[in-house]
Symmetry: C2
């Protein structure tokens, strides 16, 4: 095939593949993973074996991903945003971003990180050590985060529409988002553990536990001791109670944990480990040919907690799950495994080899025997097919097929689980059904409802790193590329390239029938209960009254907001006052959000229908400061404003 005939993106993808591969090869030279990359000739041969070039297809035989004006998408997609720190909700198959949910980031539009209501969420779950640390810096919370893995609460093996949970790799936090209002209501920082990477939830009987992998190893407690003694470092796996958002228990393990998942029986959780070596340099981390998957026995752990077989550190029970513990089992797998994914059949679990071209398939029905020492660790393995270079994550169609991302090959490979098991048993069988090029380096992938027992086998998302020349050039910083693939037929068909801002690591695809958000807040919502309580103490009915209450050097300004007017046309404060403004949106109209902003004071917040929002600041600058509505609400929206008159201190 000449270059002229190739789709435009191909040359660059090849370049990138070579670069990444060469880099890995260079790194590998320090270790022993020479089978990872192979020679350039071998790579070329592999490319020629590809049976699909994903040339733009004008009218392939496929499901339509068009959603016409006025029509609704069939699926919600809950995307992480990595270092952007938020959650994004998309519609699928149109792949349109519907809303952002601020979590670990600051959000100028909603005042997330500025309103008292959001600050409560952002601060109350921090560890005492972090609170002390931030206070020394004159701060109350972090301004950034790294949100990787968004997973919805389950009941009986499928989504129940209550919550979404996600981790912050940057500052070791776990958040919960209420799916009725699509707002984060709880954030907890995990003690002892250093960073959270993999996060999944209990699928049965319900969530239940939120499982949180500690990725990096540090001294416990990490207070300055054992600074450069890596042998004294520990990594920790945490189970959070999803109902209370408190730590249920922690367990010390060996190696850096990567991703995690759970079974459909409510008995086990399991995590991949990519640094069984306990190394602190790249060469050390890559030195072993095998790492492992750690299996956690939930019943035994709960029993140990009941028996108080733990140390209490940082206010939570910490158990010992290192090698040899009855609470865990370590199953060797090649090499630095990354993703781990439970199939909708409730039986198979796939660990993805990353530095090995294989994935390892476990049968969870054998885990009881493993814990009872009736079989050896590797006896739980029922297949280990070689799929291609850099297997990272696997999705499922609910029909016995699996879809694995190959990040070095820049492909998604469709393969059959039963065929792979036959091959593992020694039969002559090739489990690989099709390889599809993606653009360019795929990380997570996701099938519609594929992380539940209700996988429907219709759509697959491949979340690719690097977009290179797939979109208009927007300068040095380019979007990632989330590609939509039709998997409803025998063969995968690429149907849509979706640019996305830094950096969807993960997503959950949920049929719209599972999600039922409200249109308005209710007045007894706990989210703004503090404001309601303060108003009651001040004799203020938030839905009706607009008044200013002076309380020494503190001033509480209460005002209603009804399009296109605030309850107060102006209010006076004195320079130096600590001012809290409570705005209550009394409009009982769907989609009628108000805002409240004070110009040149940097104050800006959202006030949703039937909710109260509040913000506290010191009025340090005298003069006339107009406040105005920031969320379009009415024909006379621009005229919806008033004046804060700050009287000079020495006047």
């Amino acid at each position: 095939m000449s270059d002229d005939r190739e789709p435009k993106g191909m040359n660059r993808r090849r370049l990138l593949g070579t670069t990444a591969a060469a880099g890995a090869a260079g790194a590998a030279a320090a270790g022993t993973v020479t089978h990872l990359v192979g020679t350039a000739e071998a790579q070329d041969r592999r490319r020629e074996e590809r049976d699909d070039r994903s040339r733009p297809q004008r009218r392939p035989e496929r499901q339509s991903n068009e959603v016409h004006p006025g029509e609704l998408d069939e699926y919600y997609v809950f995307f992480s945003s990595g270092q952007s720190g938020e959650v994004r909700i998309y519609g699928m198959p149109s792949m349109r971003e519907l809303i952002r949910v601020p979590v670990f980031n600051r959000d100028s539009a909603t005042g997330w990180g500025q309103t008292n209501e959001s600050l409560k969420v952002l601060t109350e779950g921090l560890t005492p050590e972090t609170k002390t640390h931030l206070a020394k810096l004159g701060k109350v919370t972090f301004d950034s985060g790294d949100l990787h893995h968004p997973h919805l609460s389950f009941t009986d093996g499928t989504y129940d529409g209550r919550y979404l949970f996600a981790n912050d790799k940057l500052n070791t936090r776990v958040c919960r988002i209420r799916l009725d209002v699509m707002r984060c209501d709880k954030i907890i920082q995990l003690p002892n553990q250093f960073t959270v990477h993999g996060l999944r939830v209990q699928k049965y009987p319900r969530t239940g536990y939120v499982f949180c992998n500690g990725e990096d190893r540090v001294p416990v407690p990490n207070d300055g001791r054992d600074l450069d003694r890596p042998d004294a470092y520990r990594s920790i796996f945490t189970a959070v109670n999803g109902d209370t958002m408190q730590v249920a228990w922690q367990i010390v393990v060996d190696g850096n944990l990567d991703n995690t998942d759970a079974d459909y029986q409510g008995k086990y959780a399991f995590s991949t480990c990519y640094n069984s070596e306990g190394g602190v340099t790249l060469a050390e981390m890559m030195s072993a040919e095998q790492d492992w998957v750690v299996i956690f026995n939930l019943q035994r752990i709960e029993e140990a907690v009941r028996q108080r077989n733990y140390r209490e550190i940082g206010g939570v029970p910490v158990l010992d799950g290192t090698r040899g513990s009855p609470l865990t089992r370590y199953v060797p797998v090649p090499n630095s495994p990354h993703g781990i994914n439970t199939a909708p059949d409730g039986i198979h679990v796939v660990a993805n080899g990353k530095l090995s071209p294989t994935v390892t398939v476990f049968d969870v029905r054998r885990f009881d025997d493993l814990f009872d020492d009736r079989i050896q660790p590797r006896d739980v393995v029922v297949a280990e097919p070689e799929l291609g270079l850099g297997p990272l994550h696997t999705a499922f169609d609910g029909k016995g097929n699996a879809f694995t991302t190959l990040f070095i090959d820049s492909q998604v490979v469709k393969w059959n689980i039963e065929t792979a098991k036959r091959a593992f048993r020694g039969e002559r069988a090739n489990p690989i059904i099709q390889k599809l090029d993606v653009h360019y380096q795929p990380g997570h992938n996701h099938s519609s409802m594929g992380q539940t027992k209700e996988a429907d086998g219709r759509w697959l998302l491949s979340l690719n790193k690097f977009s290179k020349d797939r979109f208009l050039n927007v300068g040095p910083l380019k979007p990632e590329n989330d590609q939509l693939i039709d998997i409803s037929g025998d063969r995968m068909v690429l149907v849509h390239d979706g640019p996305s801002y830094a950096e969807p690591h993960d997503a959950t695809i949920v049929h719209r029938s599972k999600i039922n958000p409200v249109h308005r807040w209710t007045r007894d919502d706990p989210f703004f209960a503090d404001a309601v309580k303060q108003a009651q103490a001040d004799g203020v009915n938030l839905m009706e009254d607009s008044k200013v209450v002076r309380d020494g050097g503190k001033v509480r300004v209460y005002m209603t907001s009804m399009a296109p007017q605030y309850g107060l046309e102006k209010f006076n404060v004195r320079q130096g006052d600590e001012v809290t403004v409570y705005v209550t949106n009394v409009d009982d109209v769907e989609d009628l959000t108000h805002g409240f902003a004070i110009s040149n004071y940097g104050i800006s917040m959202e006030v949703p229908p039937q909710a109260t929002s509040s913000v506290t600041f010191r009025a340090e600058r005298p003069g006339v400061y107009w406040y105005y509505c920031t969320w379009f609400c009415h024909a006379m929206h621009m005229e919806m404003k008033g004046r804060m008159l700050v009287e000079p201190q020495n006047a």
Copy 2:
């Protein structure tokens, strides 16, 4: 037509229209704008006159807006984001968001608002009064903004690909974004003026001036004097020099300015005024039947500056442009006009009536005579067609037609300028060609290249407030709806609903041939020149050296970043040190962005290819803190990490 036969969105839109109209009517009762809304019967009649119901059309005869995998969009769209404070770049016609450019907001992904390079941009242009104010609060800059009007620099009447300028309504700032790297390089806060709303640029001979409407009236200076004496309040119009990002001059005017535009001759700028009354309450602001457009004579203003006919306030020249000044003219127009738009013909300017069902068309060729007092102000008006309820903004196709948003009618109306002029001269002629329903309340609209002399008449965007039931329900806070309309044929055809997060007020549609960003930064870029200078002083070659320089209680950590390793595997600091980390991305590969984050320290920043980024913090917490790469860079990206070892103070 029965409800059953109506498209699903219609009932709600009617409800909303009624709500908004009723609200406006209520407000109007306090004033005299009874012609604004009319009776419910009149509204129904108008609805029946609509000639298009925008029912979802499966296969209308239209341009395709599909952009298949691997294909590129034809246009860039630069969107404002209102209270989100950023700029967004989309591809059109696919309407996919390609990238976010942080400006007035904080951005967790890039470290905007945390890196030294971004803090320099965010702080150095603030007024001395704001710097003092923020210092009292323990801050150096604002964390939020309200970015409304993004406009690209011109040369000779069309885009020259150099810069984008935009305003911050929240904190009275103007930003400049470099289109080579798509990054904000300058922010200036305007002195004296209170808020910036309308912003446009000089089109000829080049930009040149950036024109900034002061919206709200306050005392000048606003330091506590005349707190509740609205008659002493003033509003100000500012011209910023787009090359230096310094204020060229300011001019005091009467009334609240709203939007602004300029001619294609380089002689005039003109702004709408929606509060000629100088009122401070809603009733006062709406009391007059007419407001005005203010025309600014640039040559006379420049001459007055040369003659020093100004007062210097806040370090800048402030001229008098109130009624009667030779520098301005006030042209009465009905009623609270909002948008003002210059047609690509270089002759016609359209002011949109908002509270009047009319738009007012000016002929700029008559402005010379107006300033020479040879004609009366209203003699510059050449048409004033009645188009519908709530005309806000007008776009053009370059073929003599105009497209005006009707925010109460929830429609876009296509009309012909020459026909409107004939009707104005008394001929029997109906300029209205078609009305198209949009969903739901349209604000700005934009045609492809329509704000230049190269308008191509292919696409129209209608930026609608409220999306209600047009998308999957995502809770109380819903997206806006940016709709794409094909205007290449005789009739407008709605082709795409685009949900968008709070809240695109404005956009600029630019053919891709006009924009040529780079893929990598160059080492002599001024954006990180401070880092380069400091490194030189420390004898460090940023592209090669990784080392730690201690300077009393300050520690400067220099490290390279080359996938998948940092130049330093670890570094030591002491508790209490002021630490600056400089990371230089030495990878010379397109799209290979690195990140640098320190876990549990809240530090996170982007390091683009061939650039240096730096961040400064106090190491107040002892222990082992892993730093890691946040932007996917390589097969071994997860292993790209190192340790900051913070030695305890009392150790």
